[in-house]
Symmetry: C2
Subunit: 484 residues, 2 copies
C-alpha cells in the first residue's frame, strides 16, 4: 500500500524533468543510489531490462562476426600511459589501486576506464602475420570512471557496457567496421528500444581520447535534449604504433594494423526512460520489456462463480501466451484494481488486460495500451494468438511517437540568429551548415546556453550554404543541441 501511494508522488515531467526522471528510476525500482559515492545498484526490474537489451546487442555483435572475451579489470599504470592523448583524456577519471591486503603495490593499478591499453598490450604478442587479421572481439564488463556529478544510469562512477575492439590490415576495412558497428547501435536503438537516432561524426574536441575520429548516434529525449547513446571509434594506427603491434603483410613487410573500438553502456537504459516515459512512469517498448502483458483479474469476494470464470480466463491467457509472450497475471490480494493499474503503468508494461465477470459474459476482456492509453474491448477467444501482433503494433506506435517528437522539435538554421531563435522557447535539435573549425565550435557553444555540437550529421550535406558561425564554406551539417 505504501508503495502504491508513492506512485502518486512522481513529479510531473512538465514541472521538473530531472526530478521526474529520478522518481521514475527509483519508484519503478529500476535502480537506486548506494552508500558508494557515484555508484548505483541495478535492481531486478532494471537488470531484466538491461539483460534484454544486452542480449539483443550481443546477437548483433556475434552476427557480425565478433567473439566475446574477458580481459583483466586492473591495468598497470605503465600499460595505461603509452598512448599520450589517451592517458591525458582518461587519467583524471581513473580509480587507482595501491594496496593488496596489507602490502603496498610496487606499481599502481588502474581500474579499467576502458580496455584499449590492456588489449593492445596482449595483442602485441598475438598478432604476427596478415593471417592473424582481422581480429574481431568484444567484451561485456564493468568499467569505472571517477565523476564529480553523477546521475542514475546516465553518468555513474561504475557502469556496465560492452566494448568492441578490432584490428585490421587496411584503413578502409577499419573504417567499414566503424560504420558497421555504429549501424548495430542504430538498429538496437531504433528497432528494439524504439528510439530514432541521428548518426554522425563527433568534432575534434568531442572525440574519444586517442581516436582518429569518433562516430556517434544521438537520440532526442522527450524534453528535447540529446543523449549520446553509442560511439564507434576509428583509432587509426595510434595505439598499434604506441604499443608496438605489427604484422608481416603478404609481401613480408612489417606493418602496424588499423584499429577500432566501440561501446554502448547501461546509459542507454536512461535514454529509454527519458525518450518514452510519461507522468504515469515508464513506457517500455515490447521487444525489451521484461513483462510484455499484465493481466489484472477483477473479482469480488462475494461472487464465487464469477471469480472462478475470471480465474479460468486468466489461466487460459497464461497457457496461450506460453513461452511466446512474457505475460504475468497479477493475483495479489488486498489490492484494488486501480492500485494494480498504477503499479504496472509506473513499470511501463506495454499491454494490460483487465478480466472482469461482466465483460466475460459477452466473451470480452478489456485491453489497454500503455504508450497511448488506447482502450478496447476484445474477444477472449483467440486473444492469446493475437498478443504478438498487438505487441508489434505497440512497438510501432512507441517508435512513431518518438519519431514525431524528433520531427516536431528539429529545426534547420542558417545563421547564429536563427540558432538563438530556435532555442528561444524550448530545447530543440538544430541543424545548420558548419565548417568544423574549433573556433566556430566555440562560437556556436557561446551563442545559446549549454548547447554543443552533437555530431556532424551523416545524412545531410550543406549544399553550398555557408557556416552559421563564420560564413565561410561549410563542409558539414552540424547537429546542435543541449545534451545529457
Amino acid at each position: 500500500m505504501a508503495a502504491e501511494r508513492s506512485v502518486k508522488q512522481i513529479t510531473s515531467k512538465g514541472d521538473d524533468f530531472d526530478r521526474w526522471y529520478v522518481d521514475v528510476v527509483r519508484r519503478a525500482e529500476l535502480a537506486d543510489y548506494t552508500p558508494v559515492k557515484g555508484c548505483m545498484v541495478i535492481r531486478p526490474y532494471g537488470y531484466a531490462l538491461w539483460e534484454r537489451t544486452r542480449d539483443a546487442l550481443d546477437g548483433m555483435i556475434k552476427r557480425t562476426g565478433h567473439e566475446n572475451m574477458y580481459f583483466p579489470l586492473l591495468i598497470p599504470e605503465s600499460y595505461l600511459t603509452k598512448e599520450a592523448q589517451h592517458v591525458e583524456g582518461f587519467a583524471p577519471e581513473v580509480f587507482w589501486v595501491t594496496q593488496g591486503g596489507d602490502r603496498v603495490l610496487e606499481e599502481r593499478l588502474a581500474i579499467r576506464p576502458t580496455s584499449e591499453t590492456i588489449i593492445c598490450s596482449l595483442y602485441a604478442d598475438w598478432i604476427h602475420s596478415w593471417r592473424d587479421l582481422p581480429v574481431l572481439i568484444n567484451q561485456w564488463c564493468n568499467v569505472a570512471r571517477w565523476e564529480k556529478r553523477t546521475r542514475l544510469f546516465l553518468r555513474t562512477a561504475e557502469f556496465l557496457w560492452q566494448e568492441g575492439h578490432t584490428f585490421h590490415a587496411t584503413d578502409d576495412e577499419a573504417a567499414a567496421e566503424v560504420e558497421t558497428m555504429l549501424d548495430c547501435y542504430r538498429e538496437l536503438s531504433e528497432e528494439w528500444l524504439a528510439i530514432p537516432v541521428i548518426k554522425g561524426r563527433k568534432t575534434e574536441s568531442e572525440k574519444f581520447a586517442g581516436a582518429r575520429y569518433t562516430l556517434s548516434i544521438e537520440a532526442m529525449m522527450s524534453d528535447g535534449w540529446a543523449l549520446q547513446s553509442g560511439t564507434s571509434h576509428h583509432l587509426g594506427q595510434n595505439f598499434t604504433t604506441a604499443y608496438g603491434i605489427s604484422y608481416s603483410d603478404r609481401e613480408n613487410t612489417r606493418q602496424h594494423p588499423f584499429q577500432t573500438s566501440w561501446g554502448l553502456s547501461t546509459r542507454i537504459i536512461g535514454g529509454l526512460i527519458m525518450a518514452h516515459g510519461d507522468d504515469a512512469g515508464l513506457v517500455i517498448p515490447p521487444r525489451v520489456a521484461p513483462i510484455q502483458v499484465v493481466v489484472v483479474p477483477i473479482t469480488h469476494s462475494n461472487d464465487e462463480d464469477a471469480a472462478r470464470l475470471v480465474e479460468e480466463a486468466c489461466i487460459r491467457l497464461e497457457r496461450e501466451a506460453a513461452t511466446e509472450v512474457r505475460l504475468r497475471v497479477d493475483r495479489r490480494e488486498g489490492m484494488r484494481p486501480g492500485e494494480k493499474f498504477a503499479h504496472w503503468e509506473l513499470r511501463g508494461v506495454p499491454l494490460r488486460i483487465t478480466v472482469g465477470a461482466k465483460d466475460l459474459a459477452d466473451g470480452n476482456v478489456t485491453l489497454v495500451r500503455r504508450v497511448d492509453g488506447e482502450q478496447s474491448a476484445v474477444a477472449l477467444e483467440g486473444l492469446g494468438s493475437r498478443l504478438q501482433g498487438l505487441l508489434d503494433e505497440a512497438q510501432k506506435v512507441t517508435r512513431a511517437r518518438a519519431q514525431r517528437l524528433l520531427d516536431e522539435r528539429s529545426v534547420d538554421v542558417g545563421s547564429l540568429e536563427e540558432l538563438v531563435a530556435a532555442f528561444a522557447e524550448q530545447p530543440v535539435f538544430a541543424s545548420g551548415p558548419f565548417c568544423n573549425r574549433p573556433e566556430c565550435e566555440v562560437t556556436v557553444k557561446g551563442a545559446v546556453h549549454a548547447v554543443t555540437v552533437r555530431n556532424l550529421r551523416a545524412d545531410r550535406t550543406p549544399d553550398g550554404a555557408p557556416c552559421i558561425a563564420c560564413g565561410q564554406p561549410a563542409g558539414h551539417v552540424a547537429l546542435i543541441a543541449r545534451a545529457y
Copy 2:
C-alpha cells in the same frame, strides 16, 4: 602450421599433470597469462565455454525463483568491516582503491572480494516487513582477491562468478535454500559438465568467513585430486544482526532475517579441463561445447568431381544441423587432415565427421567420438537428424567415464593406518568415520602429505564406527583428499 606443431608439445598427463594443464589451457586458446600479476585473459574459445556454462546455471537460478541484480564493485572500508569474522577472513586478500584521479579518497574502497557486506548495507533499507521476504537475488560479476600463487582458471586474482544472496523469515527456509542451490550446482556439474560430485558440509576451519556453515560439492580430477566446485552458505543471522537488517513479523515483532549466499565461478572451467582432458587435449561434454561437431572434408586438388561431392555432403550436414546442433565445417586450405584432426582434438570437440570421396561412394562418412576415440562408418543419409542422439550418447559416455574414475579411486578407511595406506600409491578420495573436532582434523591433515577434510559427506553415515583420528564416536563420514 606453427600452431599445429605445438600440439605435439603438450606435456603428457602422466609426466607432469600441472604442466599438461597449463599447456592445454594455453594451446587450446582457452585463456592465458597477462602482464597483470595473477590476472588472466579469457580467450574466445574459453569464454564461449563459460557462456554456455553460465547460461545453463542462469536458467536454474531463474527457475528456482531468483532475479539478477547488479551491485557496486567498490565497497567503502567501513561497510566491509562490520561482521568481524568476515573481515578477518577477507582483509588479507582485498585490493584497496585509495585514489580517484589525482585526489586521495577520504575512505579506502575495497574491490569486492564477495558482496555480502554491500548487499546487507542496501537491504537494511529495503527490508521492513515479513511481506518483503523472502528476498531471492543473484549477481553475475567479477571479484578480486589478492593471491600469492595463482593458476589459470583455478585461482586467479580476479575471477568471474555468480553470487546468490537470499534473506528468509525462518532458519529452516534458509537451510532449504542452501540445499536447493547446492543441488543446482550438482545438476550443473553432473548433467552439463559430466562431472560427478560429492555433496557435503565443510568443517569449521574451511567454512566461509562469517557463515554458520558451508556446503560444498567436491569433484575428482583425473589425477585423483579434489576440486571444490561450488559452495552454498547458511549465514544464520550473523550479517543481518551486524548490519542492522530487521523486519516486523506477523505479530509485529522485530526480527533479524536468516540469510544465505552461494557462488560458483570460472574455476569450474578448470575442473572441466582436469576432469575430462587427455594427452591429446581437451574433452568437452557436448552440452556445453561451443562446437559440438566438426566436419573435416578430405579433398585432393586433382579431382574436381570428388571435391564437389565432398563439398555437397558438407553443405548438407550444415543445413541439416541448422540451429539444432553447433556444427562447423573446417574448410581451411593448406592444412593436412591430420593437422585438422589434432587441432580439434586439442579443443575437445565431441564429434568429428570426416567426409571423403571414397567413403561417399558407399554413402558413408567416418564418425569419431572424442571422449573414447570410437570410430565408425555411418550413412550420410539421415545423419543430420541423428546428430543430437549421438551427442547425447557422447555426453553419457563422458560422464560414465568420470564416474568410473571416481568409483575406482574412492576408498573407505577405518583408521589412520588405512588412510595412509590408501594414499600410498596414488591420490584417492578416502572416506572415513570422523568426529569433526578441530584437533582430529589436524591429526588427519598430519597423517598424509597435503590432504584435507574436503567435506562431511551428505550421503553417508558412520553407522557407529569410531572416528579414524581419536577412536571416539563419529557423527560423520569425512571425505579426505588432496585438493586444488
